[in-house]
């Protein structure tokens, strides 16, 4: 059975002071504190600005080799794709070198928007993009129900790319809650169930959601079963507003410990 590693999406939130980080902890020490409590971290800054090897090297250094890093693909690879995407993909891959060298790369996360529909052009693009990351652990998150088909899952399995399972609000247009192990690793993201603010709101409202223990308990059998078929299962909480991701990550770890 694969190990279940739980973490949060991002860590550099000053608002987590008092909730997770001690009030007097300086921002440069956040990661050092984080690594004492979690073993995996999903880096999200890489979506907003292209990461560099030097940046990731510094993170590796501060983590003391105790964290596995997942890294979210840059917007130019998923949301704002232009004809120059290949250069961006190469730049992104080059930046990952410190994580790869230290064997600390959990996964490259490619999260596509709802507007990324299942059609010939997008299928070709996804194939080409994932080929540029060949040899690295990859996970793909779709926000459109039209990708949730057997032929997509077969194609992912052929390439050993993990389909990212998600917990999101139940809203029209969003994919159903679905687990299928298609890669060596498995991957789950918890976004919160903030139905009222999912569409058309800012990040701070969309991800402002605290899961109840009952809601997370419903996931325990799913996670256990996924972990049975994967080398490792990564679980990340993206409901980061006011430290809710940390509270829920700890809650889930506790539920899993009690389930043993």
């Amino acid at each position: 059975m694969g190990e279940i590693l739980i973490g949060t999406s991002g860590f550099d939130y000053p608002e987590w002071k008092g909730v997770f980080y001690p009030e007097d902890l300086a921002r440069p020490s956040f990661l050092i504190y984080y690594k004492e409590h979690f073993r995996a971290l999903e880096l999200n800054f890489s979506y907003y600005r292209m990461p560099t090897a030097a940046q990731l090297s510094r993170l590796v250094e501060r983590s003391g080799g105790k964290l596995l890093f997942s890294i979210k693909g840059h917007a130019s690879l998923t949301h704002e794709v232009t004809s120059g995407w290949k250069a961006a993909a190469a730049e992104f891959r080059t930046a990952l070198a410190p994580l790869v060298q230290e064997k600390l790369l959990a996964a490259v996360l490619l999260q596509f928007p709802t507007s990324f529909h299942y059609n010939d052009a997008n299928r070709r693009y996804l194939n080409d993009l994932t080929e540029t990351f060949a040899g690295l652990p990859l996970t793909v998150e779709f926000r459109g129900a039209d990708w949730m088909s057997r032929r997509v899952f077969d194609a992912l399995a052929k390439r050993k790319i993990a389909l990212c399972s998600t917990d999101m609000p139940t809203l029209k247009g969003l994919p159903p809650s679905l687990d299928i192990v298609t890669g060596d690793i498995s991957y789950v993201r918890f976004h919160g169930r903030n139905e009222a603010h999912w569409w058309g709101s800012g990040v701070s409202e969309r991800f402002d959601y605290l899961y109840t223990e009952q809601e997370l308990a419903g996931w325990v059998p799913r996670l256990r079963t996924m972990a049975d078929s994967a080398s490792r299962l990564f679980v990340f909480f993206n409901n980061h507003v006011r430290g809710k991701a940390v509270i829920n990550a700890r809650m889930l770890a506790d539920l899993l410990a009690r389930d043993r």
Binding site: R150, T170, P176, S177, D179, I180, G218, P221, T225, D228
Partner: protein
């Protein structure tokens, strides 16, 4: 109307999966469950063999030609019946409304269980986990508002995934799926549809009634509705749910009535044992005769009271065979299907006729030996030929 919550549990490649739990070295290998005989038909294949193109119903010799490293597993009907019963019992703790279809397939009506077990999607995941922990089988599991969508969901995430389709999300979930995933669409209909460019359920659902019936005849209108996720069929528990089907291939094609009788008895004996193991009796019998020229004959009969002994079942099967076997053509296989399996097998009756009681006691003695050893540990002389 109250919202329905249906869970479909599907243990893919049931016989092969059960065998793998006992022999872990079989995992990841191409396997076929079949008798080791020249004309044996494959009862089941493992996931690896399935992905390589092998299918149930193929001749073993053809499968061996396709896959030289195929591992042959001798069928163990009692083991599969036991596993089926254990699966069923695992599920009964969550709902009284459970429908068993073919082996390894269950529908559970979880409507109204929220206060006891939480959200039905979570319950579906929990049932899947309980099955895994109790039997080391990981079923493909679907949850939806009706049987059809739940069933398609298990097909989409085959062989061991999980999907929970929210209420109102049926059509958008079905829309991108391939037409052959829809129950009722076999290879022939799928070919017809794809040749016309109808490859997904969304396209099929988008046809007008006129287009659907022009392409597929009367059934087309119904398929179009199913493709849109419309289904109100109930979960049928108890007597209407499970069936037991046994096929008995002939060692070689034969027109000999004695040989037909022997194979019929083989099938009845094997099926009868499975039914009794489930503590049930047979209220409906279907018989199929497959001729060497490719044609088939079929007939069925229902009984007001459940039949339980091999003797009584064989008597009915023989009478039915006499009615439907009217051609003078060699036979290659017979198949019996027992359905409408009643829960109450044997009622204590002060006035039970002495000969019937004797027959039942003999049957129980035989079953005890067979449970302990094997179906073929003790046999009637008639089936040895």
């Amino acid at each position: 109307m109250r919202e329905r919550e249906i869970v479909h549990i599907n243990v893919s490649h049931f016989m092969a999966a059960v065998e793998e739990t006992l022999e872990p070295r079989l995992k990841g290998r191409p396997c076929a469950v079949a008798r080791d005989a020249e004309r044996a038909v494959i009862f089941d294949v493992s996931e690896v063999a399935f992905r390589a193109g092998l299918r149930k119903g193929m001749f073993l010799r053809d499968a061996r030609r396709m896959m030289r490293d195929l591992t042959l597993i001798e069928p163990k009907p009692l083991l599969y019946a036991r596993a089926q019963q254990a699966l069923f019992e695992t599920m009964t703790q969550f709902s009284p409304l459970i429908e068993q279809q073919e082996r390894g397939h269950f529908f559970i009506d979880a409507s109204g269980t929220r206060r006891l077990f939480g959200p039905p999607g979570d319950l579906a995941a929990r049932i899947r986990r309980e099955v895994k922990e109790a039997l080391s089988l990981t079923p493909s599991t679907g949850h939806a508002a009706n049987k059809l969508v739940a069933k398609v969901a298990t097909r989409v995430v085959k062989p061991d995934g999980f999907a929970s389709i929210p209420h109102g999300g049926e059509a958008s979930f079905l829309s991108p799926q391939e037409v052959e995933l829809l129950p009722g669409v076999g290879p022939k209909i799928a070919r017809t549809l794809t040749s016309l460019g109808v490859e997904t359920l969304g396209t099929l659902a988008g046809l007008t009634e006129g287009q659907a019936s022009a392409v597929l005849g009367r059934g087309g209108v119904r398929l179009r509705l199913l493709a849109a996720g419309v289904d109100d069929s109930p979960v049928l528990s108890g007597a209407q749910g499970p069936t037991v089907r046994v096929e008995a291939p002939f060692p070689e094609d034969s027109a000999d009535p004695e040989e037909l009788s022997r194979r019929l008895f083989d099938a009845v004996e094997e099926g009868g044992m499975q039914v009794r193991f489930m503590n049930r009796g047979v209220c409906a019998l279907k018989l199929e005769i497959w001729y060497a020229d490719g044609l088939t004959a079929a007939g069925s009969e229902q009984f007001p009271a459940p039949l339980t002994t091999d003797r009584s079942l064989f008597l009915k099967a023989t009478l039915l065979a006499g009615r439907i076997h009217t051609r003078r053509v060699r036979v290659k296989q017979v198949a019996v299907t027992f359905s409408k399996l009643s829960e109450s097998v044997r009622q204590l009756d002060l006035f039970i006729p002495p000969d019937l009681e004797k027959e039942q006691r003999l049957q129980e003695a035989l079953d005890t030996i067979r449970r302990k050893y094997d179906l073929h540990a003790v046999r009637y002389g008639r089936s040895l030929g």
